[in-house]
Every structure is written in C-alpha cells, then in structure tokens.
Amino acid sequence: MTNTTQTRHIPDRLHSRAARLFKSWEALLFAVAIAIFVVNSFASPYFLNAWNLSDATFNFTEKAMIAFAMALLIISGEIDLSVASIIALASTAMGLAVQYGAGTPELVAIGLTVGLLCGAFNGVFVTILGLPSIVVTIGTMSLFRGISYIILGDDAFRGYPASFSWFGQGYIYWVFTVEMLFFVIIAVVYAVLLHKTNFGRAVYAIGNNPTGALFSGIRVARVKFILFLLTGLMSGVAAICLTSRLGSTRPSIATGMELEVVTMVVLGGVNILGGSGTIPGVVIAAFVMGLVTFGLGLLNVPGIVMSIFIGLLLIGVIALPRLWAMVSAQRKARKIA
C-alpha cells in the first residue's frame, strides 16, 4: 500500500534473548538439576564417580528417546499412553525373529517397523476417525501388551546375537555409552524439528488452536498422524535399546514406562493441555529424573519411595511457580490497598 499516512513502528521483540532465557521454565529446572547434583555429591561418596554416573544414565536415556517425540505429540494437544506396550510388542517381535535365526540388522528393522505400525494404528484412529487419543491409546496400551502375553505367556525370549548387545551395552568412548549417543542425536533432531522447522511451527499452532490452525491452511490431520508415527518409531528405538541391554524379552518389559515418559515431558515444562513446551526443557527434566533416581538408589532408598519422591517432585515443580504468582499477586494487591 502506498497511501498509508504514517505507520507506527512496532518493535520485533520487547525482551532480549537473555532476558527471556533467564525467566524461562528451563532456567528454573536447570537450577533444580544443579541443586540435586550438589546434594547428591554430599549425600553419597559414590556419587561423583564417572562409571557410576555413566551407569545412572540408563535410568533415563531410553525413556527420554520416547519423551522427545511425546513432547511434540503433547504440544500438539494429543497423547500416546501405549508407548510402553509398543516396546513390549516390538521386543516380542524381535525375540520371535531370533527364534527363526534373525541377525542384528533384521532385528533392528523389525523393532523399528513394529514401532511405526503401532504408531500408525494409533494415528488412524485419532486422525481419521477423530477419536480422543487418550482413549485410543489406553485401548492400544492393553492391546499391544496383550499380544505379547499371548505370544510369550510366562516365557521369555533369549538368545539375542552378540552383536545386538551393542545398542544397550556398548560404549562409544571411555564411560560414554551408545545409548547416550542416541540420546544426544535424538535430542538434537527433535529440538531442530520442533524449534527450527515449519513442521514444528505447525505443531505449536495446532496445540494452541486446532481450529484456527486448520482455518490457516495447516493440514492438521497429517501433522498429527506424523507425530503418532514418530512416537511409535521412538518406542521402537527404545525397544531395541532396552531389549539389547536386558538381553531378554518378557511380556512385562517396560511396564509403567508410559507414565514416567509423560512425567518427564510435563516436568520439562510442556503444557499437558498442549500449545507450549521445549525440547531443552525435556532434556533437563531427563537429567533431573535420572539424578534423583540414582541419588536415592545410592542411599538405598527402596523403589516405591523413589516413585513417591518423583511424584512429589513433579507436583512441587509445577505448583511452586503458580504458588509464587499467587503470593506475589496478593502482596501487590495489599500494596495498592
């Protein structure tokens, strides 16, 4: 337009990058991680040991791989509670293939394919039939694991080839495990996908307002379907790592892991209702959960107490900022009055 008389200049941003970073959820979470690290180093003499710390990463690497994909899915306003059952089914399929003499490349292909198929199965019900993902994936959670139970019963598959152990038991260099490498690569890939691509922008738009996103020409169903595929695929990767690490498959493998994955995502600052959250947040949340589990383990705290602690941590980290806001609002109100 040429005849605009005078236009007001609108700045691109009001706050600098540093200011936004400082006020972010990620910064708070990072402080919590440091605090837990420091407390742990004082609480146990075995904590600050490179090999012990390396072992501790197994507490979170497999879960985190799924959590990155789950973060995108939750930001888009959906959820997948069947991820642990996908691990069971993928692991069972791999175990079955071993019985027929499959080698490591075939096993990897099978693990990834089963993951993708399960993701597609969930995705079809949610995006084509329009069913709520929480219901669909609670259903497939029973379905996928149920198939494993039918195939395996009380049995276990063993006899994985020696080369297959590389994924879950191998080391790249010194104390750095193969799983850590996967963790880093997957974190970077998802961070780029969510924060640097058009696809990631569509994920945020859908999570904030699916109708508005549709009315803006975004192919909402397609994006959501891809997210279910990715979550299935990551469950397949986690199944390969976990099966490789354990060296056997039982139908109860990874039981309850879906809630730990969701906990990690939410602790990482992803809004459970969709619309906001970051991958760096989930990375830090993974470390926080890993450090807490490891620290309490060193102190011989039993597993059940550990899960109580994780639960409290989740509620605490989420409630504290809200409480803080309420208190400061009240203080402000008192000042005015």
């Binding site: 605009t4 236009t7 007001r8 609108i10 945020y204 738009a205 904030n208 803006s216």
Partner: protein, 515 residues
C-alpha cells in the same frame, strides 16, 4: 388478573416491566443509548431492529447478565436492579435463547428443575415429586415426550419446549424468546405459536425477538423498534403496516461514511456453479470479477457462512463446481483453497481466525511459511520482515510483534488475521462479518482497506448482516434465504428495504422457492 380479554386492544393495562432511559456502553461502543421498552401482561411485544441495534444487549440487561450504565428498570412500578442472572430469575424474568442452555446428559425433568428441584426432608432431590411436577408442566404445554426422556434424544423444537417448561417451572412472569423459530420447521413453528397463545392466556408478558416479519405480524400485539442502540418507536401491531415497520427499522438518522469507489471490475476470477450441501445450502451459483466487492446478505441461519466455509475447503459440497480463472479446481481442504488463492477471514475470530497463544508475527506468517523458510527450515529474519510489512500496511497497534495475539483488541486481532491472508497474495478474499464486534474507528479502517484492496485488483466477497455496510461497500449483493440464493441486486435495486424484503421473504413477487 384480567388477562383473558383481548389484550391487543387494552392499552390501559400497566406494564409488568418498564425499562426507561437505559444506557449501556462498552469500550468504544455505545450499545444502548437511553432506550425504553415496556412489556405488558398477557401480551407479546416484538423487539425489532437490525443486527447491532441493541436487541441482544437489552435481553442481557433484562436477564441480569449485563448491568446498566444508566436508566431505570421497574417491575410493577417499583425500581429494581439486577446484579446477577439470579436476581433476574427471582424477579420472574426468564429467557429462551436461540441456543438454549440445557444439559444433554440429564433427563427432561432434571433440566426443568435444575437449581430448584423439590427436596425430600433429608435435603436430597425428591425425584418422584420432580417427575410428577415436570409431567404436569409438559402436559400443560402439550409436549409429546416424557419427563424421563434424556434431553440428548430430543430435537431442537422439543428442546425449546423443555426450555419453556423450565421457564414455567420458576413461575416466570416475563418470558423472553430470542429468535425462537430460527432452527424450527414450519410445523414446529405453528406449535410454538399455539404455545405462545397459552402463555399469553396465563398472563405472561412475552418479549419476542425475530427478524421474520410474517411471524411478528402473526403473533405480536405490540412492537418496539431500536436502531443503532437507540429507541425509534413503539406501538400496537394493529396500527402499523409491514412497510412502515421496515422503514422504521432501517431508515437511519446518521449515515455512515463509506469510501468512494470508482470501480471497473475486470475479468471473471471465480465462478461457482450449483454448490450444494446436505442441509445448509443448495444450488449456489454466481461469478466474481477482478477488483469487485460482492456482498452476501441474509438473515442469521441463511447459510452464508456455511457456504463460504465450503468454498474454503472446510466442509465438502455434495455437488457443484468451482472454477478459478476458468479452470475447474477441486478444493478439499483450506490448504488447497490457499494454494488456489482463496482465503477466508472467519466470523469467529477467537476460535477460527487467530491462533491465540502464538505471537503476532507467527500468526501472520503461518500460511506463508513456505515462502519465508528454506527447505522447511524457519528463517526468523524473513518472518519478521514479512510480519513488519503487513503490520504496517494494516496500521496494526501492538507493543511488539512477539506479543501474544490474544492480548490485542478485537479490531487489532482482525487486522492480524487479514494481514495473515494478504501475505499469501490471494486472488479472492472472503470476509465473514469483517466488522462485527469491533469499534467504529477500526470499522472505518477495515472499510477503507477493503476498498483499496479491490482497487488493487483483489476480488472480495463480504458476508455481512449490516445493511449500511452491505450497501455502502458492495458492487453487487447476493441475498440468501434458507440456504438458497433469493436474489442478486445491484445499482438502484440496492436499497435497505429491498434487502430486508428479500432476506425475510416478504416479496410480493414470485418468490416462493424456499423449502
């Protein structure tokens, strides 16, 4: 009570409710300016006015949802003030809305008595008594279903009956019916009329809001006309003709200024032939030329928005063809529409237009990411450049481009939504009620901008229920009624009276095709 005598002739009856000098302002808008409205026992008063005349605001004040900024409401000559909907209900005022607020998962009796159910001596709901009372109410109004029916299983007409039963259950003295026939079939409307007669004979004062003149003349005893938030006149229906009422309703004292448009529409850009939908519209055929503003006028429910959303790929038409620049295009999704140069600025800005939660610049670039990115990777600098350009073109007012669009005023949100679409460099822009709910200043800016867009060769479809806007902005106007094109008007035919007549179906000519 002496309500059984012919009410229309009894002008000496004193009103139950009397509103006087009622004023209500919102930021930037005076919705009601010293209006008056009287409601008489045993009589139906029709409140007549265009969209934006202040009818809904009046209803909200009467039902305690809004509080007045000035004036007095009297009930039986005693001044009252309603601080909440509860106060209004206690005073015996109840409303039946277009989309009645009822609970699908509850039974009919529970819906009727929710909030005031009979209790047992233990304080629990006395289900037996509730169903007995509900059954009696339903019987009184001739409802063809039981009090145990789940509300979900009822059609819209029967839901209205439930709402009416609910109104009777609280012993209402004043019943407000806000476009009660909008979603009803012919037969259901007849039944509603019978019911209104019953309510009249019981001495209820009825406020009846409708855009349909045949209804008003069929059922109302009195009328009150508002225009642009001001009282224009009132009286007995028996003393006025349809023509006189239309003139009262649309004749305006202050003419709005619309931009001058010396237009010369170019070649045909869009041609739609026979677009149809199972329920909402049928056989929509028209052409749109380059640089033209084509208005779509009609009553609420005439199927205009539904058709536009179909053209934009949200819903699939059952048949019909759409040609863009002469080529047949099949539009299955909004993404297809955008790729073919058709964009849509929806009426429901908060839900469909803006992605609230995302910053302004991301809203603007959302459909244009293909151009501001390279190989699928975002380029923020390009995005800000595009956002800055279009924010300036639309004279957007905002603290920063990184601000959540949800923090902007309605008018500025609308500018962002329009900017979002202009940035895609479309051929056809569909504006659905573009100035609804935005302040006068922004309105004028949107009008001026529309004229400029058309002058630059963009083809504009404007869906509007505001008569001055339709007449002031459009080159041609298509009037829709009951899902069909009622007429196409241009030039001298474009008068408020013809628009209202064609939209409401009071043509004396051969119009009779509506189902």
């Amino acid at each position: 009570m002496t309500t059984h005598t012919a009410p229309a002739n009894r002008s000496d009856v004193s009103p139950v409710v009397s509103m006087d000098m009622i004023t209500k302002t919102f930021p930037g808008v005076t919705a009601l300016d010293r209006v008056k409205l009287d409601l008489y026992p045993g009589q139906v008063t029709a409140l007549v006015g265009e969209n934006g005349a202040g009818k809904s605001t009046t209803v909200k004040i009467l039902t305690g949802i809004y509080q007045t900024d000035g004036g007095t409401i009297r009930i039986d000559d005693a001044p009252v003030s309603f601080a909440s909907p509860n106060d209004a209900a206690k005073a015996g005022i109840t409303a039946i809305h277009q989309e009645t607020v009822l609970f699908d998962e509850l039974s009919v009796a529970e819906n009727i008595y929710i909030g005031h159910a009979p209790r047992t001596r233990f304080g629990l709901i006395d289900t037996a008594a509730m169903h007995a009372a509900a059954a009696k109410l339903l019987d009184d109004i001739g409802a063809p279903f039981s009090s145990h029916t789940q509300l979900r299983d009822l059609g819209i007409a029967n839901k209205h009956l439930v709402a009416i039963a609910r109104a009777l259950s609280v012993d209402a003295r004043v019943v407000i019916m806000d476009e009660p026939t909008a979603a009803l079939s012919h037969k259901e409307i007849e039944e509603l009329y019978t019911l209104v007669e019953t309510l009249k004979s019981q001495g209820k004062a009825i406020l009846f809001i409708s855009h349909k003149f045949d209804e008003i003349f069929r059922i109302a005893d009195r009328f009150t006309v508002f225009r642009d938030g001001a009282f224009v006149g009132d009286g007995l229906i028996a003393d006025i003709t349809e023509d006189a009422l239309v003139t009262l309703m649309v004749g305006r004292s202050v003419d709005q200024i619309f931009p001058d448009r010396a237009h010369t529409p170019g070649e045909e850009v869009l041609k739609v032939v026979g677009y149809s939908h199972p329920t909402e519209f049928a056989d929509i055929t028209f052409t749109l030329n380059r640089g033209e503003i084509l208005g779509f006028y009609g009553l609420v429910g005439a199927g205009r928005s539904e058709f536009m959303q179909s053209l934009f790929g949200i819903t699939k038409p059952t048949k019909g063809v759409c040609r863009i620049n002469g080529e047949i295009k099949i539009i299955r999704s909004p993404a297809d529409a955008v790729n073919n140069g058709i964009v849509y600025v929806p009426e429901d800005r908060g839900k469909q237009g803006a992605v609230i939660g995302l910053p302004i610049f991301q809203n603007i670039t959302l459909p244009s990411l293909g151009r501001t990115s390279s190989r699928g990777f975002l380029k923020l600098a390009e995005e800000f450049k595009l956002a800055r350009e279009y924010a300036a073109r639309l004279d957007l007012r905002a603290a920063s481009l990184d601000q959540d669009i949800g923090n902007l005023s309605g008018g500025n949100q609308q500018k962002v939504v329009i900017a979002k679409w202009l940035a895609t460099q479309p051929q056809v822009i569909i504006l659905d009620e573009p100035t609804k709910g935005i302040d006068i200043g922004s309105k004028a800016a949107v009008h001026k901008f529309m004229a400029e867009l058309a002058a630059q060769g963009l083809s504009v479809i404007m869906v509007s229920s505001e008569i001055p806007e339709v007449i002031g902005m459009s080159d041609r106007v298509i009037v829709m009624r009951d899902g069909l094109i009622a007429s196409e008007l241009s030039g001298d035919e474009l008068t408020p009276e013809t628009l209202v007549r064609h939209a409401a179906g009071i043509t004396t000519s051969t119009e009779g095709t509506a189902p």
